[in-house]
């Protein structure tokens, strides 16, 4: 029992909560919402908000004035947004499988006013939903049913008797509620009129349409469509009896009708290129109130919106031949406004209009507000879908000049005299530092300081974060502030003629070709999918500081980033050959292509080929498998090395590979200690096989057998450690997160099986350390061949704990020399980034044995506790709401104590952590003045007493 206070003492000393004064200085957080699917502008209570449902499954409201996020709601990944509807001051979403979950949000605050699961009868086939708002109720259509919601309750549900015709639109007119659907098989317009109060059926009917009609639009009381065959516009009025006849307008040649989400306006496009704004008048007539003249460009978009006075606007936007974006904005009272601006890159995918202001979403994932020809704000939402990310250290500033070794004496003299002009500055800086007033920005890089030039700081906290996104963009971010230093868009190469997408696959850092002083280039390997289904592998080589392409060299960094096509076909895998700048690319035939493709590099690959093993996932019909490959050169088959399979990981029947977890950090950091020293000075030698990686598997089929965790040797595929953990629930997917560094594996899972007494359901975190054997037993595993017998001698030590949170990402910290202890960084489902200290995850925490005092002291053991306490001080993300973190990346700073942590997913969050404390930096509270005064005082004391002592000793000699 006396151990308890000790434990508390130890725990308190090892956890360092983030200081409030550090918030926003050492960390930054960018709230993102994802790339919008659609946008609608509303004006609740004199404010203007853009409501966007996004590709990241988030519903968000952006302030129209400055583009900031007013509120956002991240839907669960199993609860995809099916549709969203806005009405004045509320937003309604339907989400989930079958769009059964209805949520109503208050538009200004984002508070949920209604969260209801609607019970619909099961329907086969696609689901179509629509919502209309009445003054006292909300009507929801779901394929074959209509429900009326009043004050949060379902008042009635109407169900169609004939389940063969899906309704897609719901229309409310003063006379009733209408469900409208178009059947493509029987080419008929299905209609149902329902009493809005009682839910009783008034009439059901159908109208025969020409076969070529594929879509229709509803505006006001009219349903309208275009028959492409006869190029005529057909429309009919919706009346309770459904007896109104179809009117066909054949005087003009119509191409299509477009819904602009306005109550009684729609747009009809003519084959001539003109577009007419049609007003659905009462009585079921359509009247053209404006004509957009034919324009010179392609890619035309229409949109409509109400401004804050309720005035409807209709806009037509197109890209002109000289690649500017032009728009015509029409309103009945204000007439037509024409705007034109240059978008930079990409095309507009959709837009919303508010007066003369346009909110655009581009194909590169940017959300922009243009007022007339002015860009008011822009959000780079493609950063919410980062595929690859890497930290790059900044180059050493010019002033810290590297000396050319072949420098002559005279040259050196000239250089040093030249450098002397910095001397006064240096003296001032030195005096300032000495006086105890350090120029803070210089030493401690602040997130608030954006003005400093891009150069390495003293501690290496400032680095460039290069991220490639799924939307074909690549950004350089300042790691000290999160500001975008540069943004580039991947070019399509030859595919620009046909269109396509570029998606980054891997990112590597290589030494730049001309710079001998540690400057790095970023190499991004991307897959380009052209619209004609051809897939190519392209390499982009970028200068991380400027974002300019290095190879091929470019002059204008404002243009699209052009890469180099290396493989005309898909890429199988790409690896960086350790201790070199050679990237090995495997094409679909497993041929090895070194990059850069020079004879010298081919020779290096040839020389190192016998020792290279490559384990990676290959997909087969029965599912993915982990296969090991080695390289051989067969001149008869190919003039390049070819990877051939050497082993395959055989899992128990019913289990399939889910994921491979590579050891962190990449590239491997130096290993500071080869073993763990125990209290009695004996050693447990770490099993440091550099080829280890983790395979996570999941049981398939109904009777799920659980989730497997395997540590596998990459050269011969032998399993060094394995564990079978239960799946989250019967039939549910495995959600195991794991990280491996050195000899340390940590994995996290949900245990839903604890049903017996003394067992709990909940998350578990398991820490495993692999050793070479018993005490003082060593096999020198890090230099062993994979094929030696001793390499199979592994002794695992493991312990498991109950953990308080579900996690979405896990990794370890990494420091420059690996001397600082490694903490585990996890992103929890409660939107926090936490760090778990190494000491809490020590598998030697005494459980059934009593440690000696020596062991307690030397190993700093904490008695085992099955529950890992949920200590809020271990949250490193302050009170930020870091939503949807998918991946955490850590990188060393120049200081050994400090590691940079970058979490990305939906949001981006960066901070620095010091797992062993900042032992290599004086604390800010260190009293320099006192030190200086003490030294000064001592010096004075010596100065005063020295002559006194001398005189005294002289006198002693005289009178001895």
């Amino acid at each position: 029992m006396f151990l308890l206070p000790l434990t508390l003492l130890l725990c308190s000393s090892l956890s360092w909560a983030i200081h409030e004064s550090d918030v926003g200085v050492i960390d930054w957080h960018k709230r993102l919402v994802g790339v919008p699917h659609a946008a609608r502008i509303i004006h609740p209570e004199n404010s203007s908000l853009v409501i966007v449902p996004t590709a990241s499954n988030v519903l968000a409201a952006l302030n129209l004035a400055d583009g900031s996020v007013a509120w956002r709601y991240a839907f669960d990944s199993t609860d995809g947004i099916a549709s969203f509807h806005v009405d004045g001051d509320s937003v309604v979403t339907l989400s989930g499988r079958g769009a059964t979950n209805l949520r109503s949000f208050e538009a200004t605050t984002g508070l949920i006013t209604l969260d209801k699961r609607l019970e619909w009868p099961l329907s086969t086939g696609p689901t179509a939903v629509d919502v209309v708002f009445a003054s006292d109720a909300t009507f929801v259509l779901n394929t074959h049913s209509i429900a009326r919601l009043g004050s949060g309750e379902v008042e009635w549900t109407w169900e169609a008797e004939d389940k063969s015709m899906p309704y897609t639109r719901l229309v409310q007119t003063p006379t009733g509620i209408y469900a409208v659907g178009l059947s493509s098989t029987s080419s008929s317009l299905y209609l149902a009129a329902v009493d809005p109060v009682t839910g009783g059926k008034i009439q059901i009917g159908w109208k025969h349409l020409p076969e070529s009609v594929s879509s229709f639009v509803v505006a006001g009381e009219c349903a309208a469509w275009v028959d492409p065959a006869s190029q005529s516009l057909g429309f009919m009025r919706l009346t309770p009896t459904l007896k109104a006849s179809i009117v066909a307008e054949k005087t003009m040649k119509w191409q299509e009708v477009v819904d602009v989400h306005l109550p009684d306006l729609l747009v009809g496009v003519l084959t001539s290129g003109d577009a007419k704004v049609l007003h659905a008048k009462e009585g079921g007539a359509l009247e053209a109130i404006h004509t957009f003249p034919v324009n010179d460009g392609a890619h035309t978009l229409f949109s409509g919106g109400l401004d804050n006075t309720g005035e409807p606007y209709v806009v037509r936007l197109w890209t002109t031949a000289d690649n500017t974006t032009a728009a015509e904005i029409f309103s009945a009272t204000h007439g037509v406004a024409k705007v034109a601006f240059s978008l930079g890159h990409g095309t507009v995918t959709h837009l919303a209009v508010d007066g003369t202001r346009l909110v655009l979403t581009t194909s590169t994932g940017a959300v922009q507000l243009w007022d007339q020809n002015q860009l008011i704000w822009a959000r780079e939402e493609s950063l919410a879908s980062i595929d690859v990310a890497a930290f790059v250290e900044l180059p050493v500033p010019e002033r810290v000049a590297r000396v050319d070794e072949s420098e002559t004496f005279f040259a050196r003299l000239t250089r040093q005299i030249g450098d002397a002009r910095y001397f006064p500055e240096f003296v001032v800086g030195f005096a300032q530092r000495f006086a105890g007033a350090p120029p803070r920005e210089d030493v401690i890089v602040s997130a608030n300081n954006h003005s400093a030039a891009l150069a390495r700081d003293a501690y290496g906290f400032r680095q460039v974060l290069v991220v490639g996104t799924a939307h074909g963009t690549v950004y350089g971010l300042d790691s000290s502030s999160g500001e975008i230093l540069w943004a580039r868009v991947f070019g399509l190469g030859w595919a620009s003629a046909v269109g396509g997408t570029v998606r980054p696959v891997k990112i590597f850092l290589v030494n730049s070709e001309d710079g001998a002083d540690g400057e790095k280039d970023v190499v991004i390997i991307a897959q380009r999918k052209a619209s004609n289904t051809l897939v190519d592998t392209v390499i982009f080589r970028i200068n991380p500081v400027t974002g300019a392409s290095v190879s091929p060299a470019e002059e204008d960094s404002g243009a699209l980033l052009e890469g180099k096509d290396v493989i005309s076909g898909p890429l199988t895998e790409a690896f960086l050959l350790p201790d070199s700048d050679i990237i090995i690319l495997l094409d679909e035939f497993f041929q090895v292509l070194p990059y850069p493709d020079t004879d010298a590099n081919t020779a290096v690959v040839t020389r190192r080929a016998p020792s290279i093993f490559m384990p990676f996932l290959e997909s087969f019909e029965e599912g993915p498998r982990v296969l090991g490959h080695s390289l051989k050169l067969d001149p008869e088959l190919s003039d390049r090395h070819v990877a051939f399979r050497t082993w395959g990981l055989t899992l128990p029947p019913g289990e399939s590979v889910k994921k491979i977890v590579k050891p962190t950090p990449r590239p491997p950091a130096p290993i500071a200690s080869l073993g763990k020293v125990l209290g009695n000075r004996t050693t447990l030698y770490k099993y440091l096989n550099p080829r280890m990686f983790v395979v996570l598997s999941e049981g398939s089929g109904e009777a799920s057998i659980g989730c497997g965790v395997y540590v596998v040797d990459g050269a011969k595929g032998s399993i060094l450690y394995s564990a079978l953990v239960p799946a989250a629930g019967l039939g549910s997917a495995c959600d195991v997160q794991a990280t491996l560094t050195e000899n340390w594996l940590v994995y996290h899972y949900y245990d839903g099986e604890g049903v017996g007494p003394g067992e709990t359901k909940g998350w578990r975190v398991v820490t495993v350390e692999l050793y070479e054997g018993e005490l003082d037993e060593k096999t020198r595993s890090s230099e062993l061949s994979a094929f030696s017998l001793e390499s199979m001698q592994v002794e695992p030590l493991e312990q498991s704990y109950v953990f308080a949170h579900g996690i979405t990402a896990i990794t370890t910290t990494s420091t420059k020399y690996g001397i600082s202890s490694k903490d585990i960084i996890v992103a929890t489902q409660s939107n926090k980034i936490n760090s778990i200290p190494r000491r809490l995850l020590n598998p030697r925490r005494p459980k059934n044995w009593k440690p000696t005092t020596e062991e307690m002291q030397e190993e700093q053991l904490i008695p085992y506790d099955p529950v890992m306490p949920d200590d809020p001080r271990r949250t490193i993300s302050h009170n930020y709401d870091v939503v949807g973190t998918r991946q955490i990346l850590t990188t060393p700073a120049l200081l050994e104590s400090t590691s940079l942590v970058f979490g990305y997913g939906l949001d981006m969050f960066l901070t620095r952590v010091a797992p062993s404390g900042t032992f290599d930096v004086l604390s800010e509270s260190f009293n320099k003045a006192q030190l200086v005064l003490t030294v000064f005082g001592l010096g004075m004391g010596i100065g005063i007493t020295r002559p006194m002592v001398r005189r005294k000793r002289l006198r002693e000699r005289w009178y001895q």
């Binding site: 690896f575 290279i612 990449r666 200690s673 020293v677 125990l678 096989n689 550099p690 990686f693 990459g714």
Partner: protein
């Protein structure tokens, strides 16, 4: 004032030199006679010296309980006091052994040809070495208990090196 007063030269060159000693004070003759009368025989004197030499040889061992107590009181931590005592315990045996021959000169028997030779009083000297070794052992034991002695493999771990594995696995 600034003149040295040299009294030592006075005695030999003094004119009072040849004066007879005061009554009752025999300068050399009387002392000779008294020595002859009171001095014990040289053999018993040597025995006494030998005994004293034994006492001297075992002195380090006698002080051990006191030192052990001091060690116990100074605690197991690495602090200035415990370190001081440990350093003293570790250094004094070597200091003693370095001066072993000089230390035993006063106890050398009168028959010894060279009182400074190691072979004189060999037994006592060996005992002295043993006792000092005991002190050293106590010091070393204390070092060990303080964890200052590199006794286990853990102390040599930092010096171990490993080569590069013959196979590499690319990830």
């Amino acid at each position: 004032m600034s003149k040295n007063l040299e009294y030592s030269s006075l005695e030999s060159s003094s004119k009072w030199r040849n004066l007879p000693p005061p009554p009752g004070f025999a300068k050399s003759a009387s002392s000779k006679t008294t020595t002859k009368k009171s001095a014990p025989p040289p053999s018993s004197y040597d025995q006494l010296k030998e005994k004293r030499a034994f006492d001297f040889a075992t002195a380090p061992a006698k002080s051990l309980p006191m030192q052990a107590f001091m060690l116990y009181m100074s605690g197991g931590g690495v602090q200035i006091f415990s370190m001081g005592i440990v350093v003293m315990l570790l250094l004094s045996p070597f200091k003693n052994l370095a001066g072993i021959n000089e230390a035993f000169v006063p106890f050398a028997p009168s028959t010894a040809k060279d009182p400074k030779a190691f072979t004189t009083l060999l037994g006592q000297k060996l005992l002295y070495v043993a006792c000092n070794a005991l002190t050293l052992a106590v010091g070393l034991w204390k070092c060990r208990s303080m964890g200052l002695l590199p006794m286990g493999t853990g102390d040599w771990l930092a010096f171990e090196t490993r080569g590069i594995a013959p196979e590499i696995s690319l990830f």
